[in-house]
Structure formats: C-alpha cells, structure tokens
Symmetry: C2
Subunit: 345 residues, 2 copies
Amino acid sequence: MTTPTTCPIACPTARPIVLTGDRTTGPLHLGHYAGSLRNRLALQDAHDQYLLLADAQALTDNAGDIPKVREAVMDIALDYLAVGIDPEKSTICLQSQLPALAELSMLYLNFVTVARLERNPTIKDEIRARGFGRDIPAGFLCYPAAQAADITAFRATLVPVGADQAPLIEQSNEIVRRINATAGKAVLPEAEALIPAAGRLPGVDGRNKMSKSAGNAIPLSATPEQIAAAVRAMFTDPQHLRTADPGRVDGNVVFAFLDAFDPDAAEVARLKEHYQRGGLGDALLKRRLDDLLQALLAPIRARRTALARDPGHVRELIRRGVQRARAVTGQTRDDVFSALGLFQP
Amino acid sequence: MTTPTTCPIACPTARPIVLTGDRTTGPLHLGHYAGSLRNRLALQDAHDQYLLLADAQALTDNAGDIPKVREAVMDIALDYLAVGIDPEKSTICLQSQLPALAELSMLYLNFVTVARLERNPTIKDEIRARGFGRDIPAGFLCYPAAQAADITAFRATLVPVGADQAPLIEQSNEIVRRINATAGKAVLPEAEALIPAAGRLPGVDGRNKMSKSAGNAIPLSATPEQIAAAVRAMFTDPQHLRTADPGRVDGNVVFAFLDAFDPDAAEVARLKEHYQRGGLGDALLKRRLDDLLQALLAPIRARRTALARDPGHVRELIRRGVQRARAVTGQTRDDVFSALGLFQP
C-alpha cells in the first residue's frame, strides 16, 4: 500500500507535473545550483518531475561540436545525482531518445508561422547573442516549437524557467490553444512558468550571468583549490581600496553569492550595512563565502566522484528514465494524433 | 530458397531502393497515373520500392483541414492497389506512423540554414502559389528537410519526381553531405532524381497541370459518365470551328491525352498531321480518347470498388507496410545518431 503524497500547492486530484532540464553543452555550475537545481530538490517530493537532458536542443546551435554535446550528457547526469536528485522521484531522461518529442515538434511546426517564431523575443535575443543573422540553423529558429513539444508531451503544467524564457512558455501555450481548438477538445493542458524569485547568479568576474563559455563559472565539481581561487578572484568594489573606506554592495559579486548561499540572511544584512559604512574588508567576507562554498560543494563533489566511477550505473538510470518517459510521451503523442483526427491504420 | 531477382539497371549487389509517394490531400487522378503510377508499376518488380502516404507533409499546408488529409489516406491506398501496386513488392506505408522520419527531420534542421530553405526554388514557387508570404507555416518552410529525412531514412538512391521538384533532391543531397562530413564517414547515400521523360498531363480545361483543386481532373475512380463528360468538355482548339479547317495540336488537350495514353504512337502522329492539315473533326478524336480512357479505367474502377468494400483489409496492408518501414527507418535513425556520436545510454 502506498500513501498518497500531500501536495503543498492546491492540486486535489494529482501531483502537478513539472518539466525542467538542461541543454547538454557542459557540466553544471553554481549558477545552475542557485537558479534551478535547488528548486528541483524542493519540487521532487511533491511533484512528478521530469528532468530532460536536452541534447537535441543543444544540437540546434552546436551541430558542429557533437562531442561536447555527447560528453555533457554524462556530466549533467552526474551533477543531478550529486546534488541530490533522486531518480526514483525525478525521471532523468535523454531528449534524443524520445521519438514522440520529434513527432510532436514536427506536428506543431504546422501550427506556428515563421513570422511568429521570428518575433519571439527570446529567439531574437539569442540570434543576436550568437551572431547568427539569416544564417541561423533552421533547427534554432524552430526550437520554440520543439520546446512546446517537450512541455506538452509530459503534460507539464509547471515549467521552471528564468524570466527571459517566459515568452517561450507563452508560445507553447499558443500552440496548445491551436491544437485544442483544432481537436475541438482540451487534449493538452497549458503550462505556467515558474520563475525563481532570486535573479541569476553573476559570474565571478561580475560581468553578466555565470556561464562556462564566459569563463566566469564555478563548476559543481570544482576542487577546494579552484573554489578558493575563484573566491579570491571575485569582483567586489574596485573603489574599496582600504578596509576603512565605505564599499559598494550593488554589483559586488561576493554579496550576490552571500545572498544566494548564506543561510543567515540577518547576518548578511548586517555585513552589507557594515561594508557600506566602511571598516569591513573584502578578505573577511571572502573567507566567509569560501567556507560556505567549500561546505556546500564538498559533499556534492564527493558523491560526484563516487558516481563517476560507475558510468554503467548512470547509463542504466538514464535508460530507466528514458523507458518511463517514452511511455508518457508516447501516450501523449497518440492522444494528440488521434484527437486531431489523423488516420489510424 | 529464394532466387535473387535480376536487376535491369547496373546494380551488382542489391536491388536499388526507390522512395516515392503522395501528399494525402485527395484521391489520385489521371495526371498521377500518367506521371508516376505507371512508372511505379514498372519499377516494383526490380526495385525495393517504398510508397509513402505523406500525411505529415500534407499537414504542412493543410493543418486547417485534417479530415481531408485523413480521408485521402484510404483513397490513395485504394488508388495504389487498384492500379496494380502489389503490396508484396512495394511497401505502402503511412508517414505519420514512422517516428524515425520526424527524428531525422528534427536532426537535419540543424544542418540547414533558414536562408538556404528560403532560397529553395520549389519552396519559393509554392509559397507564391499558395499566397503564404511571411505567414507561411514553419512546417512548410521546413519540409525540404523533412523530405530529406524521408529519402534518407529508406536509404533511397532513386526518387521519381517532376522536374520542378529536382531542387528538393539537391537539397536532400546537401544535407546528406553535411551529415556524412560530420560523421566522418558515408553513413547516408546520396539520391538521384528520376524525372519522367513525358511532361505533366494538362487539366481537361487546358489550363496548367491537372489537379483536383483546379477542378480540371479526371479521378481514377471516375464513372463512365464522368469520363465521357470530361472528354466532351476537353479543351481543343477554339479556332477550329469547322472540320475542314486546319487545327492546332499545341495546347490541344485531346492530343496531350492521346500522347500520354494511346499505345499506337504512329497512328497518333498521323492524326496530328491530318488535324493540322484540316478535315479531321474533334468528335472523332474525342471518341478515340473516350474509348481509350474507358478501357484503361474500367478495370481500375472495378478493383477499387471491390477493395473499398473491405477497408479493414486495406488498413491491415498499411499496418504491415508501416511495420516493415519502421524497421528500415528505425535502423537508419540509429545508424545516423550513432555515426554522429550522440550519447547512447
């Protein structure tokens, strides 16, 4: 006999379904931990959570570097397990192994115009950031439809995303409404973006968000020495030359990290006040942050190292996740094709 | 013990693989018979021929009329069988039931740019013909990549197409070369367009090619009365008012049909000469053509009517074709994903 899990948010009939995941372009870092992994740990007990290792999506702008995309699959799976994702509670699955996602993607492309895809603000920004122009890979232009396929195939109603990704959820819901209107019934649910309250973690250099490609990231597998070096190099306030001087908190990476990781918010508030008043040196703050990060990452690193010794076990977990995800997404594909009235031989 | 079939064209090791098929937007007509069905009958003995009921492609510009797309699947399957396609020799399969096609399509979209898709002359012409502008469905812009998936998934090396479709084969081969270059080996073969010597059959009204949407088609299931009425209404030479007058052969639909269907080419040449000289009336020509078409279509119609009484049998043939096609296309999908080095759990 299993006891039904109580859901903390209002859901009288079933556990809400959450879809989340990561493009497999490199191992995860503290920015991912602060922005999403922590939330996933909190969600996995009371939700049906699917974590998608999004290698097919990674290919949309990395077709020229498939080894990177392949290797990141194992890296990210290790990161998930190391931070405490429980494969019995969260289904870890590999996008390229789920044919129903491609089938729904191709279907949805008929329900969205090229003009609409080009107007998507997320796509616009990313085209600019990647310097694509008109030579954008077609797969990249189409990825909002593929993302709609990911979300709907799992019948997810909650999709944790950064604020900049919210237009993609709106686009997915537009497609859902068109499919439902064509089917004449609500065959697919709309989804809600779950946007974290905290903003994105900055990189150690203080420029933009933390990212591996910008070289300003602390990976979850960082050694004690790498963590210490990153904290030492962290951007603070270049005008704060002597301890006695008043210092700036805004744009100060050490404080952004303390906000993200220090469990004692009251003490962080006191430290900020002291720093702004003058008399508090960077060294003391960095020591505090280094202690915090070393304590946070030591057990993650230890678990990750242990798991990495048995890649066969990790593959087996992914295979099991793929199996479960195939059943769910295949059923949705069948339901949608049948509701739309396609020929069933 | 099976005896190996002798191949009439040079292929020492295996029967060449042919992929062909039809968008499922309506029953087939005499234009299809003259332009492609006849060739398929000739090809099926010495080739591995796959006939794709292309319902997924039909959706790229018919998402608003799915019942039409669904109903045409059975209609076209009946047309195939009625003209003599042998399901033991030719594999009749349904595109939307072959997930590997969608998987390869999504993959290939990463190997072609939006600009390249927009430059495709076939796509350009069709966008203009359908009045799409920028509100073109994304699936329609992307269909050359989907067609590359169709061709390559079956490892087809021969693709019978009209001359206007030849750029699509070139586009498919471009994708093949990119995939092979990325894989570092020839995982996919290039394909050759098999362009019929005869031009397209005109519609009975003499305007453009025969098509159901233009209302100028003679369906393969036409009744004797419909055939007779179509031949009576057929456009000839509006200046040819009296039998004694010289008449024009160019643009004369009756002669185009005689060229396509009359087995006695020498007699047709004599009739043309007589008509141009004067003294040959339309009525005599139309009688000859009516006799020919009645004789051609009577057995096709009879088989079609008999087959239509047992749709369950036709469904079963499609199911068997799907099963065979799934094995072939699934293997190609696995080969391509593995050759490219995607993660295999």
